[in-house]
Amino acid sequence: MPVDRKGSEVFVGKVALRSPLIIASGTWPHGPEYWRSPVTTGVGAACTKALTLHPRTGNPGIRVWETPCGLLNSIGLQNPGLEQFLMIDLPSLSSGDVEVVVNVAMETEEETGKVLAALSEKQHLLGAVELNISCPNVDGGGMAWGSDPVQAARAIRIARGNWKGPLWAKLTPQCGDISLVARAAEDAGADALVVANTWLGMAIDTNSGTPVFSRKYAGLSGPAVFPLSLRLVWEVSSAVGIPVIGCGGVSRVEDVLSMMLAGASAVEIGTFHFTDLSCFSRIEEGFLEYLSVKGYASAMELIGRGKRKVD
């Protein structure tokens, strides 16, 4: 019996998603077949790999390392740069059936400005821009932008000045008080907040006796971090009025529900689809079943509902 997937629609501000499940940045192939049915069953939107003005080759050495229920990565924003993205990637991604969210890695004011200005000309093809002020795997910029309210606000203002479409800011857990950063991003004009990018960790190869990654530290993702991300989602969504998108460790329908009950309007999944490609369609089905069993008329009713009885 074909599943009626209608009831899972959500809105992130003005952006309508047919499902609250978003494929997280840097984890999904850019081949066009991955951006359309049947592969995208259950998926509402997909984020591109981080985009930078110029091509980047990424980090040398080992780039991924498994940890208990988690994954450390140090990819380092490998991407072919704006020109190739516009020419080759974007046309094929946007021919699919999910909203395309372009993850733009915050670099210098000038570089980011150029990238966003160029994307503005393609705004009709894009669901949103996700401004990555949280990459832990590069020097200069990256996570530094998201690590305090002042820097974060500066980054958002630069972006806001160059991109009029929906602007999501992807925050990092590596900041003092994330509520302050979140409020600063809201005030500077972000339309939604993605909470959050990876958690700074490291690994040592005991055989060689040295750090596994060339940059020593790397970003932790996957089910291991879910309880930590959920706490951030609760905290941020209590602090701001704009929509929050949960991200970090989601692997089960209960995780999606928890994130939404905690205040998220949608949820990104990255690492777990490395383990199970059918997770999107399966989780969406579980999501619909929950709504129906619990008597919710729409997915939107779930958002923040976990708070009403407590906060």
């Binding site: 840097g26 490998q78 690492t271 490609l277 997770c279």
Partner: protein
């Protein structure tokens, strides 16, 4: 991969561990019964495999396919760490999660003779090659006498196998590179699979002698389908992904000294 419903990409499925044959404490041949039958697998293609119970280990481990018959495939598992230990210890009949087949195999050659050089479990793709086509010359090098069970098992399947060991106690003394001496660049082509050191040496010799050589590389992987950029190798054309651009590369394409 711990799915019950169908996977819309068709890449992931549950498989059943149908048989296990031990070639020593740390070496096993596993037969997996797939639900969906694979189309013809190319030698060098691989699968990601994980134990389906629980979220740890989280990621599939890559294994080259060494045999295919109906809806059964065969792999060789050398116990290297935790993931391979768990796989090797899995009870028969257990469901495992499989992603694949993945990657590009060794390219069909127009030249007259293919010489396959394997280091230990690097023999896997060449078992499949021989199963599909009886023509290539296959050279297997092993570290020493501990590997006798593997050598015997492979010998039964590969008629005319050339064996090498460093101490000469199994087959010829030395390693499979010895066979490169007699090759003719006009008519011979080399396929190699094994430890990176061996592949690098194959590349050096074949580069110098202008023999066309393809090598199957090993890198750490997360997604296996080109999404994560975790598995890149540096090549003359920039970074490439082992999982989707490889794992088989032309030996002269790889920048062996980039890390």
């Amino acid at each position: 991969m711990c799915t019950s419903g169908p996977d819309p990409t068709g890449l992931d499925q549950d498989v059943v561990l149908a048989s296990r044959f031990s070639l020593g404490e740390k070496l096993f041949i596993l037969t997996l019964e797939t639900r969906e039958m694979f189309s013809r697998v190319q030698p060098g293609q691989f699968v990601l495999l994980r134990t389906a119970a629980g979220l740890d280990p989280l990621l599939g481990r890559p294994f080259a396919i060494c045999g295919q018959e109906g809806n059964r495939i065969e792999i060789i598992v050398a116990v290297a760490g935790r993931g391979t230990r768990l796989l090797a210890d899995s009870a028969l009949g257990v469901r495992l999660s499989l992603r694949g087949p993945l990657g590009n195999g060794f390219p069909e050659s127009t030249k007259s003779r293919t010489h396959c050089l394997a280091g230990a479990v690097g023999i896997a793709p060449f078992l499949l090659a021989r199963q599909q086509n009886g023509e290539s010359e296959i050279h297997l090098g092993v570290p020493g006498q501990d590997w006798e069970p593997l050598v015997n098992w492979v010998s039964e399947r590969i008629h005319g196998l050339h064996v090498y060991s460093e101490d000469g106690k199994l087959g010829n003394r030395g390693n499979p590179l010895l066979c490169l001496d007699g090759l003719d660049p006009r008519s011979d082509v080399v396929w190699a699979c094994g430890p990176t050191g061996m592949l690098k040496a194959v590349s050096a010799v074949c580069g110098k002698r202008q023999i066309a050589a393809w090598v199957s590389l090993e890198t750490r992987m997360a997604c296996g389908m080109g999404g994560c950029h975790g598995c890149v190798v540096q090549t003359v054309d920039g970074p490439k992904k082992t999982c989707t651009d490889g794992p088989v590369f032309h030996s002269q394409e790889v920048l062996w000294n980039a890390s």
